[in-house]
């Protein structure tokens, strides 16, 4: 994914209906963690996507701000797990013989070994 430098103004413009004080508070709560630069916050693409998600959670799904840390905490754990599973899959892909990979796939999907 392309990397570009995103300022807080770009974030505000990119998301419909988001208000600056809300975003400031989310940063203060460390729900969003942009890098700090002398010129102000610098956001990455994942920060933007996360701000958009939090905005959706608040406005579409009415997750209130007391509950937000729980939601984000669980979400972060799920993505940690999924990244690790990807790593595990890569490690297996790089080390296991084709026979073993085929047998693992068959076992995990409940099918017959090839």
């Amino acid at each position: 994914m392309m990397t570009r430098t995103l300022t807080i103004d770009i974030i505000i413009r990119a998301i419909d209906g988001i208000k600056r004080p809300d975003l400031d508070r989310w940063i203060e709560n460390q729900w969003v963690r942009p890098d700090a630069a002398p010129t102000g916050y610098v956001f990455t693409e994942i920060d933007l996507a996360r701000v958009r998600l939090i905005h959706e959670l608040v406005h579409e799904f009415q997750v209130n701000e007391d509950t937000m840390p729980i939601v984000l905490g669980l979400l972060d754990q799920i993505y940690d797990l999924r990244r690790r599973l990807h790593q595990l899959g890569d490690a297996i892909g790089q080390t296991a013989s084709p026979d073993i990979r085929a047998e693992m796939i068959a076992r995990l999907t409940g099918g017959e070994a090839a």
């Binding site: 963690r33 990455t44 994942i46 996507a49 993505y79 940690d80 999924r82």
Partner: protein, 311 residues
């Protein structure tokens, strides 16, 4: 795309609020960022979002209701890359759980083991990598009281039919575990064999009991031996020993044979044997009866006196 009213589960005349509520309720469940890896949820969410986009716009809704457009006629704008697309890649490490104020990353070996258990505990063993010591083998062996006190060599038959000569050292306690080096399971790739660990159970003896290094024994004696004293033979674990019963010994008198208990070992000295005299009358003959009938003790003794004052 299916009928947007059915997708959202609302009536044809549902209000804008009803539609919004229905959308929120379904979107909460099927949002792709909240359901990573669940393709069904993602497809469902697309339908829900498209249905909502169509029905939440009064003009579009009106055209759909009048049949001017079908459900396909209105495609929701293609979804921007969601949070999921970033979070699943290495980029997502930025928001790794607990990493606020400093990125943590990678695999914690403990976590690896807790998630993938058997796979990595097995893999971490030095299997096939070099010599490995064999596992210890555990056995139990019951030995006689005298063999445990005096020491003995016993042949243990193993489950596989082979035998193992076990040297029980003198003064072995009940519950002691003997370690026979190199008599356990064979090592791998030239590694040393494990040890055999043998738990010793000492069977009780008919007469002797063990009390640490000392041995206790109830020793029957005759009335004559008790009253008059005299030489008797006392059995000990090391063989019979002659000793004198002092005259006027009573039932319950304890005699000590120094050094005749459990043999000494290392810095532990040999114990003693304590013989408690048990006066045994046996079957009285006529002479004894005759004597006792005419016997008038010089001092009348009442052995139950203490019981009377203290019932």
């Amino acid at each position: 795309m299916p009928n947007p009213y059915e997708t959202l589960g609302v009536a044809r005349d549902a209000s804008a609020d009803d539609i919004r509520r229905a959308y929120r309720k379904l979107a909460k469940i099927h949002h792709p960022d909240l359901n990573p890896g669940n393709a069904a949820a993602e497809a469902k969410f697309k339908d829900i979002a498209a249905a909502h986009a169509l029905l939440s716009d009064p003009e579009q809704r009106g055209r759909f209701d009048r049949g001017e457009i079908d459900a396909e006629g209105h495609e929701a704008a293609p979804r921007r890359p969601g949070y999921r697309e970033y979070a699943e890649t290495a980029t997502g490490q930025r928001y790794s759980a607990g990493s606020a104020g400093g990125e943590t990353g990678g695999w914690d070996p403990e976590d690896l083991e807790s998630i993938f258990g058997s796979m990595f505990t097995e893999a971490n063993r030095p299997r096939n990598q070099g010599p490995a010591r064999g596992a210890d083998a555990r056995y139990s062996l019951t030995t006689s009281f005298l063999d445990a006190v005096n020491g003995a060599t016993t042949r243990l038959t193993l489950p596989d039919g082979s035998t193992l000569d076990v040297k029980i050292p003198p003064a072995t306690d009940d519950g002691h575990i003997l370690r026979l080096r190199g008599k356990g399971n064979p090592g791998r790739n030239g590694g040393p064999a494990g040890d055999a660990l043998i738990a010793i159970t000492v069977a009780p003896h008919q007469y002797f009991t063990r009390d640490g290094q000392d041995i206790r024994l109830d020793l029957p004696i005759t009335l004559q031996e008790a009253v008059l004293g005299g030489p008797i033979e006392v059995p000990t674990p090391g063989g019979a020993v002659r000793m004198r019963v002092p005259p006027h010994s009573d039932n319950g008198t304890i005699l000590r044979l120094r050094g005749r208990g459990v043999p000494g070992r290392g810095t532990t000295p040999a114990g003693d044997l304590y013989a408690t005299l048990r006066v045994t009358i046996g079957t009285p003959d006529e002479a004894l009866e005759t004597f006792l009938r005419s016997w008038k003790p010089a001092t009348a003794a009442n052995p139950r006196q203490a019981m009377e004052t203290n019932p």
